[in-house]
Amino acid sequence: MQKLGISISSLLIFQAFSLQSAPFDDCPTEAFLIQKPENTAKTFGIDLSLGKSIELSENMNNQNGKALNGVGFSDHDDYMYGWYHHTNSLARVGNDYQIESMTLNKVDSNSQNASGFYAGDISTVENIWFGYKVGLGLFKVFIDGPNANKMEYVAGSKAKATLNLTDIAFHPDFNFLYAVTNGTTGDLVRISTDTGEIQVLDRVYEGDKATFGAQFFDVDGNMYISSNQSGEIYKIDISNPELIDEVFAYGPKSSSNDGARCANAPVLPASGTDYGDAPDSYGTAFEDNGARHGTSGITSLRLGDDISGTDDGVQFATGLETGESAIVLIEANQITSTSYLNAWIDWDQDGEFEADEQVLDNYQASANNQIMYQVPLWAEPGSTWSRFRISTTQDLSPRGGAPDGEVEDYPLTITETGVTLSYYPSASGYTSLVYEDNYPSTGDYDMNDVAMQLRIINYIKDNQIIRVGFEGRLSALGASYKNGFALRVPGLAASKVNGDHIKQVLKGSRVDEAYLESGVSSASIIIAEDLTEWIQTSSGCSYYRTQTGCTYENMPTWSVTVPFNSAVSTGSMPAYPYDPFIFATTASYHGDDANTLIGHAPGRALEIHLKNKAPTEKFNNGFFGYMHDYSNSSQNKYFLTENGMAWAMEVPSSWKHPMSGVSLDQAYPEFIDFATDDSGQTNATWYMSPETSKVFNN
């Protein structure tokens, strides 16, 4: 009984307020859609960036199933106004979403005879509602001021009203109405509020038959039009209108639709939006209309387990060989009967996902999907990107916002048929090359003057290597000297390498820093002349990633692909990791020892290699036996001290190097027994057992 009492009293209060409902918040960013399924008018709020809609009002209290159309949002008083067919008059909607009909003073016969408006909006200049109807013309209703509630015909507009428009929208700055016409082609038109003259500006739409029942602006002068039939939302730059070639967001479909939005509000990315991470050219960031999905925590439809961080839903169970079948495994969570997978692979490596590069087209998702697909013969061997999207929305394209689901982008490698990919140490792991750069004197053995993580990929066909790829990331620069980094392949003649087609990517962008060095017999590829140029240390930091807090964004990553002029037998290649070395940057001071020996900064004449790896012909052999160096080229002993210690080491993991000034044996106590046992069997995994406080952890 008590419950009933409360509901009756609240109903009374509700009715009292509905006569004088409160305005909306000041210029909200969402768009409003008024729809009338089963004759009940409802309001939906739409996040234009994702096409995501929520029901704001389940019943706007429309009478006799009559519609409210031509709705516009007034930034002058923060109410919505639209044409109410039940009273054949303008009506106001406040934040309770109830229709309040107004009484109009229709001052001329055209106004008195006008009815059935579908298209209307509130001017952004004055608080006036403009309504348009084909065959009747343009009309205006003053909302406030001395002429409040007056409705008048725009003289001469009847003869000009020849186009059937379903919505019109005011530009935020210009006092013009804009609209896109309906059908299989759509023209952008501009309507003068003074004369009703309609100017056709540009063809903006060609495609399936579309009725653009909801049309909006944002504060930057972009127009958004929503197709009733597909629910797709398109964005038009009014300053440079072009034929629409992509969907901005995938919104709800509707048989009838009317839209209103505060034209002075920006369209911003929604919080919690999931994005891909392929390079910009694929459409990744919001500004580029990147693929994006609305998320809602653990109940979100998603690929794999993780929705916001790691990409974990897709596994390429087989490699991708041109002209052959391949298998991909896709795991999905929170699927329904309407969860769809769409996927693209940039087969031609042009930096875009195109229609003929779609590999999954509305594939109905299960929790675990094992899918076979075909790599086209025309696919370009090399590194490229793929994009996987899951959503309850069908027909997603590689770009644009979807209300739910997830996007995951994966880099991948395409090879010719029959190519073996051999990774060292693995396709996701790195080995670490760590250097002490005080050569030819011993240093403090913190092994972090240069620390480079490296991965080597061999492309093998018929037991012949056809090209080599190197991928790396700079893990530390703990030195005050400047050093370059190079990769040498002992025994591989430089003439075997096609130096003109070495391809390098640094921090995600193509660069031309890497080159095949001339004047040396074995192929030697310079990766960087001066590694300090790759990073900036934070203020107060002398070094990079060897002192607490002294980092720089992410570790700079790089890759170099080295093609061969003719294939090289696998047996003729040296053992991993070949011979990666550092050298003194040209004309850069590298210690008194080198200056004393050579008479000036050593540049390429000073190299530091792994123990017992011979230097290149550019090296100054005067360093042999100088200071603490104990090399003996006649016995093939190089870069070792009298005690047999090295200036450079390979550690086969993404190694945590010692902190600045902490010696190797302090940070890794097991190293001593490892190094002194010739068999290498004692403490063989010494590098996995650090004194945690003495290594760089991050």
Binding site: A317, Y424, K611
Partner: protein, 167 residues
């Protein structure tokens, strides 16, 4: 809030630590990281004896490493695969995986060492592995809609590691 005694302890430990680590040379040591370490150490009252233990052990300057010892921490594994079946087969040798209760394997194909189609002549190649790598899985896919076959390798710690199988 620290008591007077706790403060004193931090100062003492901090100076002990600076003395212990200060001889490394190389120049440019910032005092900032050392100070951070000392604060961490202060919470563990047993830190001082550990420092003494380190001093008793041979240091890198004292040891002799054989001239031929190139300090490598890797080993080789000879992989030999014979192919009996004429069907197209794709082989991945991967190091990150999990054996599931149902006999299946959850393989991370992003972390593989070899990816190859198998020709009729099979495969014979030498893999270089880090000393801490002690198991691998081979996932063999037939393009007939069936799940793959998995074959595992475990390190045996013999001088020449070998892994041979037929498919």
């Amino acid at each position: 809030m620290f008591t007077f005694n706790q403060k004193t302890l931090i100062v003492l430990l901090a100076s002990a630590l600076l003395t212990a680590c200060g001889g490394g040379g190389g120049g440019g040591d910032s005092s900032a990281p050392a100070a951070t370490q000392s604060t961490q150490t202060a919470t563990e009252t047993e830190a001082a004896p550990e420092t003494e233990t380190t001093l008793e052990t041979a240091s890198i300057d004292d040891i002799i490493i054989a001239e031929d010892n190139d300090l490598s921490s890797t080993f080789d594994l000879q992989l030999q695969v014979s192919k009996l079946d004429e069907q197209r087969v794709y082989l991945s040798v991967c190091e990150n995986y999990q054996a599931l209760d149902n006999g299946e394997y959850d393989v991370d194909y992003n972390g593989c060492i070899v990816r190859t189609s198998l020709t009729d002549s099979g495969l014979d190649m030498s893999l270089t592995l880090a000393n801490h790598s002690d198991q691998l899985v081979a996932a063999i896919w037939y393009f007939d809609g069936n799940p793959p076959i998995y074959i595992e390798w475990q390190k045996t710690n013999v001088m020449e590691e070998q892994w041979s199988f037929e498919i």
